[in-house]
Amino acid sequence: MSHSGGHHGEHAAPGHVVSTKILVGVWLALMILTVVTVEIATVDLGSANLWVAMFVASIKASLVVLFFMHLFWDRKINMIIFIVSLFLLALFLGLALTDTGAYQPDLIPGYAPGMEQTPPATK
């Protein structure tokens, strides 16, 4: 699993050696995707803009993780750990959102005394 580099005979270091071709390819893909996000952001897709941007970002992130970070060839446990951390991130976001989103109607309009744009009645 980890000795696929095989360049230097019996004492090759552990870990996969990624070919230059793949690295350059990934780099080009990342650059293209960056241009894509920037351009798409100028098109008005309503709320879909966010999701499109996140989708593209996730492709980019996967490329980095799988190839630059060798996870594609790496031990499974590393992948599991990384995915678990993302899962917890989603959990944190998700449960916090189900909650705090719900009491928006209870907000006191224009509270934030510190940043109030309308001055209190005193003249």
Binding site: L88, F92, A96, T98, D99, A102, Y103, M115
Partner: protein
């Protein structure tokens, strides 16, 4: 350095075992300790620090209790009282109980149990300890500056507006968090990568499962505490406006942030405690642990479910009904694996050969007290009832029953269990039993009354209280003094044991996990050659040996016989 190693179990003929080269006398001088990479020494250094923190936290607790002897002012005024309970809570939680079992006991025994020479990253291990020390210094500095009065929960916007020293403590806790993260990370890698051949996952002692589950929480939850505290500091120092309603921020969001860590953190406290209990109950019943796999999996299940329930601390915070429902339902999911463990321990005792040595006394006390603590969690998980009980002494009683009755008692069980391995000396069983009884009685007197106080409506974090609660408070205070006496006795006989205790056998309890294969005091490098792991709970592997006053390994005896 391997020259003067002995093989495990035996001993160089002539020299008494405890005078051989061991991790305590391997090198000398303060510097050799402060720069040591040996997990056993690091474990001991943690132990010293943690006991000191416990003493400090305990002294604050006694001040809190003493103030409550009468309504209104007894010894101090409100400002000081508020600092006392805050410092009591913060010291106990962040300095004592979270690193308590994993970093002190865990560091000492984990590689030994595993049959490894050290943890995966010894340097990181030492770094963790230094981070702990630095974090602790911040807390002490805070006390010197005049304290902090936010409660250990640091709720905004009180914590962003109070005039006390919030920033140094939060910084300290932030650093302590990293200490905890690195310990957890180290243990996970150690358990994954340094298990010797033959020790499959299901041949691991249950303490290792527990520590592994704990470490997962440490690694995955603590960073959120880190960012929470950074945000709090930013809020306080710069007015960043995320939690401060005066700037349009959401103060309840802080509670989500805080409990996302701090609920899983209560399982950081209890899981290793449960691991210790598994390790103690089996040898003192001389019986293989009942339902090994259930116990092992339930540790992981508790760790996993523990991440889903943080909102049960916020049932009255203004959290949405949907959130309340979800979190209440999920809360009960954690009870099931806990129930499994309790029943499995009981079954382990059934038809065992039960010896009531001090560690076992503590283990039995644990089942009694944690039972109460855990079961009262059911009241709190039930939405409608928690509305009444939230932020009353009922909650205070609940968490002392689980944290003290659970974790501290298990810590004491573990301390007494591994004491002979740490120092090669025995302590007085008689005084051990006396101290245990005093602590047990004092504890119940202190905190059972608080259940009644709380359900009668006495709010927590109250400096002053209505006269109708006076007698309960007084009983509780008396209980805490009894408990304090128990600890003083404990401290005395343990100190006596260090100086003049009977020399311990290599395996005084007849346990069969690998740490008992080392000489009475393990050598610097633990094992000369990696031992072969057998079933960690198969007690036919050892036999009572009246000569040494301990147990000896059947396989070593026979191989010695062959060699001889």
């Amino acid at each position: 350095m391997s020259a003067n190693h002995t093989t495990y179990g035996g001993g160089t003929p002539g020299a008494p075992a405890w005078e051989q080269d061991n991790y305590l006398n391997h090198t000398h001088g303060l510097k050799s300790w402060l720069t040591t990479l040996d997990h056993k020494r690091i474990g001991l250094m943690y132990l010293i620090c943690i006991l000191a923190s416990f003493l400090l936290g305990g002294l604050f607790a006694l001040l809190v209790r003493t103030e409550h002897l009468t309504p209104g002012r007894t010894i101090v005024d409100a400002d000081l009282y508020n600092q006392y309970f805050t410092l009591h809570g913060a010291v106990m939680i962040f300095l004592f109980i979270i690193p308590g079992i994993p970093a002190a006991l865990g560091n000492f025994v984990l590689p030994l149990m595993l049959g490894a020479k050290d943890v995966a990253f010894p340097r990181l291990n030492l770094t963790s300890w230094y981070l702990w020390v630095i974090g602790a210094i911040f807390s002490v500095v805070t006390i010197a500056l005049g304290g902090v009065d936010t409660g250990w929960t640091f709720y905004t916007p009180y914590s962003t507006t109070t005039a006390t020293h919030v920033i140094p403590v939060t910084l300290g806790v932030f650093i302590l968090g990293f200490s905890s993260i690195f310990t957890g990370l180290n243990f996970i890698v150690t358990i994954h990568k340094l298990r010797p051949k033959g020790m499959t996952w299901f041949k691991m002692p249950l303490f290792l499962w527990a520590v592994y589950a704990t470490a997962l929480i440490q690694v995955l939850a603590t960073p959120v505490l880190g960012i929470t505290l950074l945000l709090l500091i930013a809020e306080r120092a710069m007015g960043i406006g995320i939690f401060d309603p005066a700037l349009g921020g959401d103060p309840v969001l802080f509670q989500h942030f805080f409990w996302f860590y701090s609920h899983p953190a209560v399982y950081i406290m209890i899981l290793p405690a449960m691991g210790v209990i598994s390790e103690v109950i089996a040898p003192f019943s001389r019986k293989t642990i009942f339902g090994y796999k259930f116990i092992a999996y339930s540790s992981i299940a508790i760790a996993a479910f523990g991440f889903l329930v943080w909102g049960h601390h916020m049932f009255t915070s203004g959290q949405s009904a949907l959130g309340n429902m979800l979190f209440s339902a999920l809360t009960f999911s954690v009870s099931i694996p806990s129930a499994i463990k309790v029943f499995n321990w009981l079954s382990t005792m059934y038809k065992g050969s039960i010896s009531l040595k001090t560690p076992m006394l503590y283990a039995l006390a644990f089942m009694f007290l944690f039972g109460i603590g855990g079961l009262t969690g059911l009241f709190l998980g039930a939405l409608a009832v928690d509305v009444h009980l939230h932020d009353t002494y009922f909650v205070v009683a609940h968490f002392h029953y689980v944290m003290f009755g659970g974790t501290v008692i298990a810590f004491l069980a573990g301390l007494h269990y591994w004491w002979p391995k740490m120092f090669g000396r025995m302590y007085s069983e008689k005084w051990g039993a006396v101290a245990c009884a005093l602590i047990f009685i004092g504890f119940n007197v202190t905190f059972f009354t608080q259940f009644v106080l709380g359900s009668q409506g006495m709010p927590r974090r109250y400096y002053n209280y209505l006269p109708m609660y006076t007698s309960y408070h007084q009983i509780s205070t008396v209980g805490s003094y009894i408990m304090g006496l128990g600890f003083v006795i404990c401290a005395i006989y343990l100190a006596h044991s260090l100086l003049a205790g009977k020399k311990a056998a290599a395996n005084p309890w007849g346990s069969v996990t690998l740490e008992w294969r080392t000489p009475p005091i393990p050598p610097h490098d633990n094992f000369d050659k990696t031992p072969l792991a057998g079933d960690p709970y198969d007690y036919s592997q050892v036999r009572w040996d009246a000569k040494t006053g301990g147990y000896v390994w059947v396989d070593e005896q026979s191989s010695a016989a062959v060699a001889g």
